[in-house]
Subunit: 464 residues, 2 copies
């Protein structure tokens, strides 16, 4: 008969051995990623069909899990880290981010309160202050940053703060964002229990940017009707076309009616590491809150959204609930930040570590280098598209998102998109601009360099 | 003059080298964790004072980050992974979870849609079905599971589904949970824009469990007053005392008025891997939704909450917003799950990997072993407390949370708590039960074994 086991935990030495194997597996994966078709080709149900129906009764050797990564998981992966990734926006990892996150998981702290790991809170505030300098963000944001999982959650938190600050019945509150804003604004509005009929879509100009005059008209009409303008979202780099809403004029219109201005720069904010792109943030000093995603273009593995508020009390008033079991001396001293009051959930990972590792590994110089490279490559591609008679450039790209369609219309555009994705060498996604089916080329994945954009250009040339 | 660098990215070989160093650092940390005082002793601002004011202009060697982990970060860490961790509830990591999460970060996929990595979605549905079997959860939950970051978010999602299903003006909706429920219910209610005055606190019995008769009375009174009972939360294992609300009777009361019943088993749900503890879920087949946290007692690193709904359409109706740029053939076929419609944010990590690794490493046998060990140790500790005249056991512990106070009152209890925490060998937190300051001993950290609970007992003996 077997002796009952004392422990089923992995020993430190086993962890060392298996950890090395996983590090090597990840290194191999990232090194050879271009060998996989960028988008997975499995059919619905195909991954599940390879998995055993039940969890095992007895533990399995670690090697079995590693083998199944190759056999079961990889065929079902769409490779966001591939150099041929031009879809949606990027969701970038990098060596220092992966390893910083490994430290975070290893430490296994839960930073809901300052007291539950002071370093987790203080490093977070500190690196977000570093970003205030790196991106030349307004001084009003210094000391008032927090990491959210995503821009969706940042927008929701901003909305909740705005909803409370408005001080009027929820049913009378109105919100405003351009027709091109991210779907998370509508989703947040719905979550916050506000009237869907009171969320206005502001018309845009020929560059798909919010028209502040139109916003002012909508605000005035609502105020006149006895409604309470509460929340305006400006986007610095829309998802469909990377349009840049004029932040200063939007802020002026919003503030004339007492509404909160949130600026969503999820994708493009990172560009402000380069002085020549800081114009995208013109007027930001007037904003009430702001976010951008280091997990998009700042090589910091998902999830990492940097969210700032001008008035932290507005945020914590909206989100603070303090039961007895969370009371503690540090919190009651008022000398510390408890980030649980700055977010939707209670618990939180130590996400600042991966961002700290990234900022220290690349240095400001390294961040600027790769952002500039992607913008230059996108601009070259746009110039080439613009000269090709078979293609129509939708709008001049402000930074690194190139939008175009086939001159022969939606059918031809869809065929071109399908043909490009069928190569498996690249992956692109679509949108609609002024009703036209439009191919988006987002040049921003960590591994995307000149050769990959040139290859994409050749593929477009061949399939157009 | 320097030649401009081509790339600042970490090379695969550098990643291998630094990755091994980080694996070793984590192994050393976890192996020697008991050498640190469990709760950090830094003062507010002390961590920040050790950090340079600005991000570096030029990248730093990786060794500098590793050195700063020891110098800057560790003193500011409160060690949730310590065997002396008896505070709050645990937030557990383990070798297989840490390495599964490393694979996830390395793959760097964003699983918002089935199409953006089919394996991420399908493995998640599949391992959550494994848990239906392992915990003997109701068949209604099969195929209807999703990983949330935390139970707070699960409760909020359940509430949003309930709010929409109620089909009445938001201002007329009422909610119900016991006086002992987690603060996330109140926080979620606030986020969802519902009237704080309409969230009822249901009285509890002598074991701090919700009184279904009192709930029925409140529901009837509200219905009679023209309000719409929409949402009831029962807790299987409250935070203050691990009380088990009677799920079946609570469900009957809720459903008699058409309200949604959500069951929050964040801490204790894992116990159901052992048949002898499955009574905590009696009546669960009647629940509309349910969650428990593998990141608490199932050795799966934060964040990982397993959330199930009976009627997935109620959830996705509440949370779905589909812009053009997210449309795709797989979604429109209806043959797949898009988990973005099951959660608050849009983006999502591939969190199923760490849970998969845990379930396969431990096997059902391993999970049961460690849960039983913690319950047995807690029961022994409770029996010892109960016999000691200096101490008062607050309530017989159902599982692994022991609550007690000093017989001489709050002052003595506070001194005992402070003295225990001052040893640095253990960390405990407090609550109030019936107005009495109460020490909580949560026996559940990954490394906590017999010797650590016995040491805690000796420390209590010495300081009482």
């Amino acid at each position: 008969m077997d002796t009952p086991r004392e422990s089923f935990h992995m020993t430190p030495d086993e962890f060392r051995t298996h950890g090395r194997a996983v590090v090597d597996w990840v290194a191999d994966y990232l090194e050879n990623i271009a060998q996989h078709p960028v988008a997975s080709r499995v059919a619905p149900g195909e991954t599940r069909a390879m998995l055993p129906e039940n969890a095992p009764e007895h533990g399995e050797p670690f090697e079995a899990m590693l083998a199944d990564l190759d056999r079961v998981i990889l065929p079902g992966i769409t490779h966001w880290q591939s150099p041929g990734w031009f879809g949606y926006f990027p969701c970038n990892g990098s060596g220092p981010a992966i390893l910083g996150d490994l430290v975070s998981t290893g430490l296994g702290v839960q930073g809901m309160l300052w007291a539950t790991s002071p370093a987790a809170t203080e490093l977070e505030t500190h690196v977000l202050d570093w970003l205030v300098d790196l991106l030349a963000l307004p001084e009003t944001f210094r000391g008032n940053g927090v990491i959210q999982d995503s821009a969706s959650s940042a927008t929701l938190c901003a909305l909740l703060a705005a909803r409370e600050r408005a001080g009027a019945p929820y049913g009378t509150l109105t919100g405003y964002t351009s027709t091109q804003a991210h779907s998370s604004v509508e989703k947040g509005w719905k979550i916050a229990g506000l009237d869907p009929a009171n969320l206005r879509q502001v018309p845009v100009d020929e560059a798909y940017a919010l028209r502040p005059g139109a916003l002012a008209d909508l605000l005035a009409a609502d105020a006149k009707a006895g409604l309470t303008p509460a929340f305006v979202v400006a986007t610095a780099g829309t998802t469909s076309s990377n349009a840049m809403d004029p932040i200063g004029a939007t802020a002026a219109a919003a503030h004339a009616h007492g509404a909160w201005l949130h600026v969503d720069a999820a994708m493009s904010g990172t560009a402000a590491v380069c002085p020549e792109y800081r114009w995208i943030h013109d007027g930001l000093a007037e904003a009430d809150s702001y976010c951008f995603n280091p997990h998009k273009w700042m090589w910091t593995s998902f999830d990492c959204d940097a969210f700032y508020v001008r008035d932290r009390a507005a945020l914590t008033t909206a989100l603070s609930v303090v039961p007895e079991y969370l009371r503690n001396a540090a919190t009651e001293s008022g000398a510390v930040i408890d980030y649980r009051d700055w977010q939707i959930p209670l618990g939180r990972r130590f996400r600042a570590l991966k961002l700290w590792f990234v900022l220290r590994h690349y240095g400001a110089e390294g961040l600027r280098h790769h952002v500039r490279e992607h913008v230059a490559l996108a601009q070259e591609l746009a110039a080439w598209v613009d000269k090709d008679e078979r293609l129509v450039l939708s709008t001049p790209p402000p930074l690194n998102l190139v939008c175009f369609r086939h001159a022969e219309g939606d059918g031809a555009t869809q065929r071109l998109l399908d043909d490009l994705n069928a190569t498996g060498e690249v992956y692109l996604t679509h949108t609609r601009l002024d009703g036209d089916l439009t191919i988006r080329v987002s040049v921003g994945a960590t591994q995307t360099r000149r050769e990959h954009v040139e290859r994409l250009r050749d593929l477009v040339d061949r399939h157009a």
